[in-house]
Symmetry: C2
Subunit: 493 residues, 2 copies
């Protein structure tokens, strides 16, 4: 029964069901009793912790510091920046009272009407407003700049249709908020963080991403420019995986944050903000996994190697235990994280599918015959291939194998993206191609109207104007008007 329970729907059968099955059955996350809020289970959370640790290191190496700002935002703060409030007011959790009490009949717990807040508080959907109200006190002169803060936090956006990791009412993220003396410095910061996110996605998540800039329609509410990394999932849909915003002086003006520049003149401060969230978990899962379960890049796997003993009796197990201990020491010395599963309640076959489902990059199996022959069975999760190797030199072999797996799943994802990126030159072709999925590189006349109409007719949006794409002019596939350059369309999560 246990085995049956763990079986996944296949991707070709129902991609969306496959994803949900996988998230739940691999013990990554589940829905909670609170609508739209998820529980991140220990195995899923340990992947998120690895992402956090690496990103945090990269933020610190680029001069950023962590801080913490309040969960609540006074309602009036949200209104200060006109576009920002448009973007977020419609999906806010609003705190109106600060006390519960027993109902008059004593049987129920009710909101105490006497404990009504003078001003309602919004649970932060993002923290620009509360942070810029704080920066006002931190900044007087150019000497106080730049401020390079990041915070790891939970945020809430009251989404109506939610999916584990991809779109949840509450999610975990980091949000960087920087303040600068010049426009140029802020623009450079926004680009720097975009590049940092792309590096992280490619090197650690093994996920190729397209770097680009968003169109006005798709910009963050309150930004002058939104930079994005876009990844292509195995069903041909795009996933926005991280954004970095050049906010200009919008929030400085909304919260009256000025500084005396070197010429002793008062100026508004320049800003950026940038964030990635637990949505990256969804991106990671969908980039590499297959019908047998999760495929994790070694760089982010909670443990990289599992050793499974194959034995007939306690005596054999004892011998294998000893050998396994010595292998574990060797692997740990090489910086490899490893687990030994000699749980006697489960059969090896059950363990094999369990670790396949959980995406453990390398599985070592050790049986009585291996002890005799001084060999070990090595199975890699990405290709599902296995081979018997001499025990001699197994540590270095596994180390290189892990590096190879990391490279291989990146190449595989890159190859998939290449095969699913198309230059499209007419709207008819576009409408046909978009049904198959993928990134469509097309000419666009630059107008929000065209973008909107294409979206309404095909559900495809402009994912980004690539930073380093083809810059040749042409004619818009929709309107036939002149186009400065190709942009990337796709259906998206």
């Amino acid at each position: 029964m246990a085995k049956e329970l763990k079986e996944l729907c296949s991707r070709s059968e129902n991609y969306s069901q496959w994803y949900t099955d996988l998230v739940i059955k691999a013990d990554l996350a589940e829905n909670s009793a609170v609508r739209g809020c998820m529980v991140i289970k220990p195995y899923g959370y340990s992947i998120w912790e690895k992402m956090q640790a690496q990103l945090d290191k990269m933020f610190k190496e680029t001069g950023h510091q962590n801080a913490y700002f309040p969960l609540f935002i006074p309602k009036s703060f949200l209104s200060r920046e006109a576009e920002h409030v448009e973007g977020f007011a419609k999906e806010c959790a609003v705190v109106t009272h600060y006390r519960l009490k027993k109902s008059p009949d004593g049987n129920q717990l009710i909101v105490d009407p006497e404990a009504k807040l003078e001003e309602e508080l919004v649970v932060r959907p993002t923290s620009e407003t509360i942070i810029w109200s704080t920066y006002k006190d931190w900044i007087q002169s150019y000497r106080d700049l730049p401020i390079l803060c990041n915070q790891w936090a939970n945020v809430v956006r009251w989404e109506m249709r939610t999916r584990l990791f991809l779109r949840t009412a509450e999610f975990l993220w980091q949000e960087g908020h920087t303040a600068h003396a010049t426009k140029q410095e802020a623009e450079e910061e926004a680009i720097k963080m975009l590049n940092l996110y792309a590096d992280f996605a490619e090197k650690y998540m093994a996920m190729p991403v397209l770097k680009g800039v968003k169109t006005a329609n798709e910009r963050f509410a309150g930004a002058l420019e939104t930079y994005t990394i876009e990844a292509l999932m195995q069903d041909g849909k795009a996933l926005q995986s991280g954004t970095s915003h050049f906010l200009g002086q919008n929030f400085a003006k909304a919260f009256d944050v000025t500084f005396l520049n070197k010429e002793n003149k008062l100026e508004y401060v320049w800003a950026t903000s940038w964030g990635v969230s637990t949505r990256l978990m969804g991106a990671l899962i969908m980039s590499h996994s297959d019908d047998n379960g999760l495929v994790l890049p070694p760089a982010l796997a909670p443990f990289q190697v599992v050793i499974v003993p194959i034995y007939k009796n306690a005596e054999q197990l004892k011998e294998i235990d000893e050998k396994a201990s010595s292998i574990m020491l060797i692997l740990k010395d090489l910086g490899i994280s490893v687990r030994y599963d000699n749980n006697d309640n489960k059969k090896p076959g059950w363990k094999f599918s369990e670790y396949e489902l959980k995406g453990v990059p390398v599985r070592l199996a050790l049986g009585a015959r291996d002890l005799q022959n001084n060999t070990i069975e090595v199975a890699r999760r990405d290709t599902l291939s296995k081979e018997t190797r001499p025990m001699e030199g197994i540590g270095l072999y596994v180390k290189e194998l892990l590096e190879d797996i990391q490279q291989n799943i990146y190449r595989k994802a890159l190859d998939y993206r290449s095969k699913n990126t198309f230059e499209v030159n007419s709207y008819d072709e576009f409408k046909e191609k978009i049904e198959e999925g993928g990134f469509l590189s097309c000419h666009w006349d630059g107008s929000p109207e065209t973008e909107e109409r294409v979206k309404n007719e095909t559900k495809a949006t402009i994912r980004c104007i690539p930073l380093d794409g083809d810059q040749t002019p042409g004619t818009c596939i929709f309107s036939g008007k002149p186009s400065a350059r190709r942009v990337i369309f796709a259906r998206a999560y």
Copy 2:
């Protein structure tokens, strides 16, 4: 002016003002625009990060895993455990709506009455209820036990009188929630985590703590037993610094969480929960700091050593820069965190007070004469003493000095506590002594009534019944009735 702004009120003048001055002027935290919520500034947050990293390591070494549960708790969940709701309903932030909209005149942002939640959500004041509603689905058999989860999270308790770090409406903490098959195992877990907290406090925070059990009056709402670590602050007041609760089967019963035991019988699951919070920051600050500012234990200092150059001209600075670089390399190789402050905008004297204020354990000053003599000035923050040392062997000297500082501030705090712990044998003596502060070790008849009356008359509470204190019987200082053993009274934060 900068210097003046940084001056602290002295402890003897006004202890409470000294604390607030220190928190703000050392850039640890500040009040935010949201009542009762603080902003934790980068310097303060980096101390908290060090605490987190160490605690997280200790949790994992003892077999715990991190997970994440929702921020919101349905109102009805809170009511399930009768004592729990009593404890928390009166100070909850309540979310009643999920949307804001423009007022009819278009000038204001108002709560959209049509977006009222069917059931109100409470921002978690603690997570027993949402977690046990989740555990119900995770636990069927004894094979699913134990569950050893921890989460790092923000929580909200609508406190009316708040103080930075010590009592804030929102605070950061970790909460462990474990599920066990037997009462004994759960009790052992609660004690294990108490000991872990005490080890952390003593070894890393350099703060001696008293381990004990709370009286019924002071127990966590819903617990059968609350264990606590209590520290003594420099004003003679106690600070509860961490608690670990044996919850019995209360939450399992409230959420109907049962399991099949080895004999195939259905039983309720046994539980513990345990937590420490950003309140530890307050404890750390008040344990060691002095009228010149913060004193940080090297184990938790954001940087352990600062090097300040003393120079008359650019040429001298260049030479000192070079020497400083080589010292930094030596220190970093020894695992010491170090910063070099050659900022030309500030005078050495200003820097000296700044780093004193910020509690940097060791300050090295390097001048032209030092270069000639191959010496360096070493100042320690805890004793404020300084000496000129030969450059030769400076790395190891500083390393040992840091260890010595860590030990010394612990001894100092322990010495303070010893001198301020008194055996008190009459109520008259008690009333006199309590005005001076300190831990009062007294006989108590064991009744909540006595405890309550002493509290009303003297503002002192029973901090704990020490786990390893004197077990000799006697007579209650208040009622004269028989007392099984001495307990610790104090006024507390």
